[in-house]
Symmetry: C2
């Protein structure tokens, strides 16, 4: 049996620690969304997640989706269709979407918190509305008024779902290689080609499916600069079936209830979004939203895995405390929470999860600010921080999430390896997050090759100013001195490493690529130290159990997790030689 306690109290703590009221609620559009209101919204949604979504998570994994090659149709697992209806009725789907088109206009910050809970309780299911949301974001920015009016209301209500059609058999990471063709025909285009890895490309939960498709116009420039983007609905405005069909499903290690489709476009009618050959812009609007969402997946699944491991640990007695004073005289064995290593594993998960949840809220608040602040410069700063930290949370969040779930399995021993416990499903479901929406190394290249060099390091300076500001704030606070010192040292090292790597990469781009993955993780360590110092600042402002727990969890982070940074730094220093001097014939 799966079980989930929505982390409402911790979410509230994080909102307050990051001064949600001052940072986001102070924006006119969000004035109604105070912390109490948010708490009651997420409490209600959390209940829906635990009571409606979670019970179908295990069965969905066992049954999986199925494809009928006669009708090209895809069936979701039993109950998913009804769940989708309930999900729409609950009314929180368009929560963070603009009111103009039927959304509730809540801050993205709330959307992020909701996303954690929905992903934790049914990752496969929520991928469908998740992609729809991404498509909505893209249309809001790049769509014509006509497109917005026609598509957005149905998508924000959830009656129609969206997909993102990028990958082709010969091109995944390198989208410049794509060959799907779009030929003009009057006001619209005709698309032909094959796309793969299309999440919810076909399914039975909605009336219409809207595909955002990358394709090439005739005579388009080669590579990424010749890619345009099109809306291709499954059903056209007049109700006729468009020439887009599912050709089959992938069989995967996890997310069995989420159909991963091969989609065949055969002279399908499509409508261009944005300008010709500028398709990557719309794609990136959608992709960036998706990447942030993936960053949250790690926390989501590792939190529910943690809850399962903790449930097991609280119940399990095995071995004796090494401290005779702690031994339970009424039992032949002590509860395993008495063992240092069990605590070490649980705290590894807890401290990184809470740090990553803090990071998600921090990024989400800047996302809201970047859209709504009056002051253009302040908007730009927030936008810079979101851009800089998107690859960090996507990559480190997914990597750490997978590790944490494996750690949760270790706490439960053999039990966790069986399907009697849900952890093995979470482990399988989570592994894809390091791969999709741009592999983790692509995130690292985005950070090192695109985000850092921009305007001579403008993005990094924006973030460093935040770090410096916090260090200034906590100066003289004895409780925080130790942690502030660690953040300061880490931030200083990051600056030095960035400079050194930048110099090397300037002369030889391979140096940057060789360092990138380790650099991203080093960056994540500085970022999480910053987040934790912020959380600890709040933790020392009160004396409740929650405050004390937060202090001890943060202490663990600085002592036991942060040391990771050393190994990343050392590997970066080794440069490209260990990889590039290796003769590839020797593999």
């Amino acid at each position: 049996m799966q079980s989930y306690t929505p982390p409402i109290a911790d979410m509230r703590f994080v909102l307050e620690a990051f001064d949600y009221a001052g940072q986001v609620q102070s924006i006119e559009a969000f004035a109604d969304y105070d912390v109490d209101t948010i708490e009651s919204i997420i409490t209600e949604i959390g209940r829906f997640c635990a009571q409606e979504m979670l019970p179908l998570n295990g069965p969905g994994d066992s049954q999986g989706v199925s494809f009928d090659p006669e009708t090209y149709s895809v069936s979701t697992p039993d109950g998913f269709k009804e769940l989708y209806t309930k999900f729409l009725e609950s009314g929180f789907f368009g929560l963070s979407q603009p009111m103009d088109f039927g959304g509730a206009g809540a801050p993205h910050t709330v959307g992020f918190l909701v996303s954690e809970m929905t992903t934790a309780t049914n990752k496969s299911f929520i991928m469908c509305p998740g992609l729809t949301n991404g498509l909505i974001d893209a249309l809001l920015v790049h769509g014509t008024d006509e497109q917005k009016e026609y598509y957005l209301p149905k998508m924000i209500s959830g009656e129609w779902s969206g997909t993102m059609c990028l990958t082709e058999p010969q091109c995944g990471t390198d989208l410049g290689l794509l060959t799907t063709k779009a030929t003009p025909e009057g006001e619209h285009f005709r698309l032909s080609g094959t796309k793969i890895w299309i999440t919810f490309g076909e399914h039975d939960m909605v009336d219409n499916i809207i595909h955002l498709v990358l394709a090439r116009l005739p005579g388009a420039p080669e590579g990424i600069r010749g890619v345009s983007v099109f809306l291709v609905p499954k059903f056209l405005e007049d109700g006729t079936r468009n020439g887009v069909t599912c050709g089959g499903l992938e069989h995967k290690m996890g997310i069995h209830a989420s159909p991963t489709c091969v989609m065949n476009f055969d002279n399908a009618v499509g409508y261009m979004v944005g300008e010709p050959h500028k398709g990557m812009r719309s794609m990136f609007t959608m992709m960036n939203a998706a990447r942030l969402q993936v960053g949250v997946e790690g926390t989501a699944l590792s939190d529910i895995a943690y809850q399962a491991a903790l449930r097991y640990a609280k119940d399990r007695k095995q071995g004796r405390s090494l401290d005779p004073g702690k031994q339970d005289p009424d039992s032949k064995a002590d509860n395993i929470l008495i063992h240092p290593d069990v605590r070490r594993m649980l705290l590894n998960i807890k401290s990184t999860n809470e740090g990553l949840r803090g990071l998600a809220v921090y990024i989400a608040q800047h996302l809201d600010r970047s859209h709504h602040l009056e002051d253009k410069d302040a908007r730009k700063v927030s936008n810079d921080i979101v851009a800089l930290l998107t690859p960090v949370i996507k990559s480190y969040g997914s990597e750490r999430g997978f590790q944490n779930i494996s750690e949760a399995m270790q706490v439960t021993g053999g039990a966790g390896y069986t399907t009697d416990w849900p952890i093995e499903q979470y482990l399988r479901d989570s592994r894809i997050a390091m791969i999709y929406e741009g592999t983790n190394h692509i995130q690292a290249l985005d950070l090192v090759g695109r985000k850092l060099p921009k305007d001579n390091g403008r993005l990094l300076r924006a973030f460093q100013a935040e770090v410096t500001g916090l260090l200034r704030e906590v100066k003289g606070d004895e409780n925080l001195a130790e942690y502030a010192e660690l953040l300061k040292a880490e931030s200083k090292r990051l600056t030095a490493v960035t400079m050194e790597m930048g110099m090397k990469a300037f002369q030889d781009a391979e140096e940057g690529a060789a360092a990138a993955s380790n650099y991203l993780n080093l960056f994540a360590m500085t970022t999480l130290s910053f987040i934790w110092l912020k959380l600890l600042q709040a933790a020392y402002a009160g004396d409740s159990e929650q405050h004390l727990a937060k202090r001890q969890t943060g202490h663990f982070f600085f002592k036991m997790v942060l040391p990771e940074a050393d190994v990343y730094a050392k590997r970066i220093q080794a440069g490209k030689a260990p990889m590039m001097d290796f003769n590839p014939d020797f593999f």
Copy 2:
């Protein structure tokens, strides 16, 4: 389609690097097993693995085993029974077992190499003979002559298989809690109780199954000192069915073709092995063999995963080399092996795999020496090294194996997440290795709490003498100077950390337990540095492609893997406080 190239050339390289001829073949019993002979044996077995065992690996995973509750019988997947027959006909099952009982008397060193290949190609299948081997080891040491004569020939021929029945629902790690009862009845005993997680406890490949069962005699002392061990055959000597039946199967994340059984003992006839209440001795003989075997599993599965990832990488073109000079002018994209990060991932796997293969051979050679050397002191030294390094290879080998397979999946991207590629099966199959035969933390406690303190550090001194000996040998060798310095520094740090941890643990046992898991990994780093220096010594003694490849792979290990050690050391230094000062109510 799964595919496997047995790493024969590398195995031969390792044997020569570790002076197999001088260390093992020089022992009279092994005089016939020269390196050429071994090469031809493992070549033949490797062919069997690739041609006969591997083709059933994927189908076995998909079909799994099944249980018939009417007859309590367990069916293995299609073809497994026939494979087992072929396996016995091939004649290599009793390879490393003594000739007195029908074995071929080969060194364990050869057995380890074989074990890597059989595990790589069909881990589920090989668990059956693997456990039989463990039971044979236990009987050889602790069985009566009568027991040996009756059981060993049938088990060494493989006609009967063996199991190890330890765990009960309320006791896994803490075997002192077990409650299965054994009541004397004439010459034998009657056993009643329930055992869980029994690998191949019931199946259809053999005529008889012999269980080694831990149980308590009436009035036995509480805890681990009241545990005796019994042989419980499925069929008794007169052909009657004994009171031991399978009660069901576990459903697991992986190793689907290996039945994990609940075994019910209902007044079953059993024969005591060894002395009353001293059952843990026999159990540990079997367990130690099993732990070394698990240590090899990591390398086995991560090598075959590496081979799959490499096959993918060699074929895949995506993106452009950042060095224009390396771009393929005849293609729009370059082979992904040109990218530093792809190489980094592949070398992460390759360099640790080859190090761990070296470690397995090094331990196996000492195992052979510990059994056969004339000189008692030399035997003791070898025995000490085996005892010290068994938890290291079991724990680090299984942890690294899992990480490496995940890394191999990352190389293949989305493809590797699908069942079109076998990597996802290897990832699922490998995860259990960190749990069974004593969880990895139990290995760490064995190292820190049992192996280190023995005779004031005698085991560690034996290993350190080997390190010092090697450093002395390579002194002045310019090619090796850099690596020798790194090993020296690592070994020095290990000594200092061991002293410091020992002092703390002497006053407070929880300090040792808190540090243990990170200490084991630190120990593994020193050990692998030692192994790699030894391999590099051999690599610089020749100029073939193989020698050059080994040099570059070893270089990568020292530059990119060894830095891990820093984080382990730092965490150990933090002591128990981050875990034990944490209020368990705050989880």
